[in-house]
Amino acid sequence: MNATPTFPASSPAPPNGQRDDVVLRVEHLKVYYATPQGDVHAVDDVSFEVYRGEILGLVGESGCGKTTTAMAILRLVQPPGRIVGGHIWLDGIDLVRLSERELRRLRWDKISLIPQGAMNSLNPVLRVGEQIRDVIEDHEGRQPRKALKERILHLLHLVGLPSRVYNLYPHELSGGMKQRVCIAMAIALNPILIIADEPTSALDVVVQRVVAETLLRVKEELGISIILIGHDMGLMAQLADRVAVMYAGHLVEIAPVRPLFKTPLHPYTQLLIESIPSIKERKPLKLTEGLTHDLRNPPPGCIFQFRCPHVTEGCRTRRPMLQDVHPGHRVACFLYHEAVASGGTSPQR
């Protein structure tokens, strides 16, 4: 395992075309869940960066480890899960090393969360206003009631909610309204980074649009970076600046949104994009059998070998690392690594 010692905020721009406006850098993150039959490698050696003011999409099929990655960044992996290794640099601080106390001060102030189950994420017996007030007062201290209420109402208006929501209980809100309350709460302390875990699933298409636009406005008007988790590739194409693709606990490709959709490199990404349904033409549904191996027993070699149409002998013994193929376009697949090494053009599908 690569144990990079520190990543001071003032360090010079890293080599090979990396940018210096990195907000979050995840390095070799490993999160395992202990089970009686052995550890589930839910997140296995994942590294990526989030830049200032961008939306990074994190996609992949159900169970590939998206939520686990998100919760690890907040240091909120629930037992029996645990962070086994790696670093999470936020603003020059390694979150993996922080004590509970330091973490508590940093949470929500720097990183906030729009949780996957936003429907059940509000306390059922507290009014919306009180739940937002709690987080402001616990981080900034007691404040004059009136100014605080003004501030919370402003937050609600920002996400397009009427003032009366302040005095309502969660069960009196619709799903879309709850989702937007969660967004209002997430921006309350003006964090650097918001992790939005499938903020639009379980909503109808119209409400999805409203929530998506709210997220875009948060990014554009407040300049907050967002990690947007989801499996809706269409939504990703609209919202994300860059997209990271996960498969079975591994990051297999990460690229700016256009190249990723136009020329997806990793066979798994190609599969994902081909299976986006189109209204114009009726494609035969590609059979995707889902994860083919037990996450407790990852095979040696490439993680995608059992489903890959281009699999070779080498794929079964050596594991491809995530490498730059074009500037900013990284993929973990030997198809391209060898091409890069030999200086040839990358094969297209």
Partner: protein, 336 residues
């Protein structure tokens, strides 16, 4: 927001009266289905004591009339209902010139005082212990000690009562073994009397609190553990809130709601007293009275006490229904 409506209030109060009417009717029917004639039994008891009583048949007749046991059954029922409405519970069969409502008025304050305090203490302590047992931030030492406080739950409380009397009354002589206050103390709102009452109430209260605490603790622990996994608890953690705020406002506040319903029911049944505890400590409350009623087959007394029990339960359920929407916003004053 839906507030309390007249419609709801009227419907709810009507239900209260129907409950009481049904309860009162049952009290009327059940003893009449039981074999034996209480008046004849009493007269023969007197006969046995006095050796011989003149014109006992006439006496039985007269007493029948006095206790409302003469005439056709429907007339008895109407008379009975009228006396229930005026809270006239009749004469005690065993302590004849005493009236049942007077006996109850004498006993009720003791029981209500003792049991309300004991129940509330047990509720607060039990829930706190249960919540701390479930909370993952509870310091390890405390977490390991807490289950010890619940060992008494597995002892029947009359056993614990006897143990307490033996230890603290006879061996150590810290507390009196029986009674509600010391003889010779002037009854009233004076310090001597209050001190004596607390002194006498400690052991009975302790035996109730220690043995019933576990019930609350186990319920609370289960609720809190379920709660810990809820999304809003994880979000509260993500929000970096003060751990104590999370514990109270996000943990206990939501977990305690089902417990409150159980509390209302157990407060409602207080009027029946705690027979065993009161008997062991010779505490002059409703439970002791009930014991005497049963021993003497004093039907009117038993009826009176059971009626108080029904009244108490119905009242506390009514109050609960009116209060619950205030503590749990998801419950509204709607139908149901």
């Amino acid at each position: 927001m839906r507030g309390l409506t007249w419609d709801y209030l009227i419907r709810r109060v009507a239900m209260f009266f129907v409950t009481i009417w049904l309860g009162a009717t049952l009290i009327f029917i059940i003893p009449r289905l039981a074999p034996g004639d209480p008046v004849a039994a009493m007269v023969s008891r007197l006969q046995a004591q006095a050796g011989y009583i003149e014109n006992s048949a006439e006496m039985i007749e007269a007493w029948r009339r006095r206790f409302g046991l003469d005439g056709p059954i429907w007339l008895q029922y109407l008379k009975y209902m009228r006396s229930v409405l005026t809270l006239d519970l009749g004469y005690s069969l065993a302590y004849f010139p005493s009236r049942v409502e007077e006996m109850i008025v004498d006993a009720l304050p003791w029981t209500v005082g003792l049991l309300t305090l004991a129940t509330l203490m047990s509720f607060v302590l039990g829930n706190l212990i249960g919540a701390l047992m479930a909370w993952r931030r509870t310091p390890g030492l405390i977490r390991n000690l807490l289950p010890l406080t619940l060992t008494f739950t597995s002892i029947p409380f009359f056993m614990l009562g006897i143990l307490l009397i033996y230890l603290f009354a006879f061996t150590l002589d810290w507390f009196p073994p029986s009674g509600a206050y010391a003889r010779g103390v002037e009854i009233g709102l004076n310090w001597e009397f209050i001190k004596s009452v607390i002194h006498h109430g400690t052991l009975p209260a302790l035996s109730i609190v220690l043995t019933s605490m576990g019930f609350w603790a186990l319920g609370m622990r289960g609720m809190m553990i379920t709660n810990e996994g809820e999304d809003y608890m994880i979000l509260a953690e993500a929000k970096g809130l003060n751990p104590f705020r999370v514990f109270w406002k996000y943990g206990i506040r939501t977990a305690v709601l089902p417990q409150v319903t159980a509390l209302a029911l157990s407060l409602g049944s207080i009027a029946g007293g705690s027979t065993l505890v009161e008997y062991i400590f010779a505490y002059p409350g409703m439970g002791y009275l009930l014991y005497q009623g049963i021993v003497n087959t004093d039907y009117t007394l038993i009826q009176g006490i059971v009626f108080m029990l029904i009244l108490g339960t119905a009242t506390s359920v009514l109050i609960l229904d009116l209060l619950l929407p205030l503590i749990d916003p998801r419950i509204t004053y709607e139908r149901g």
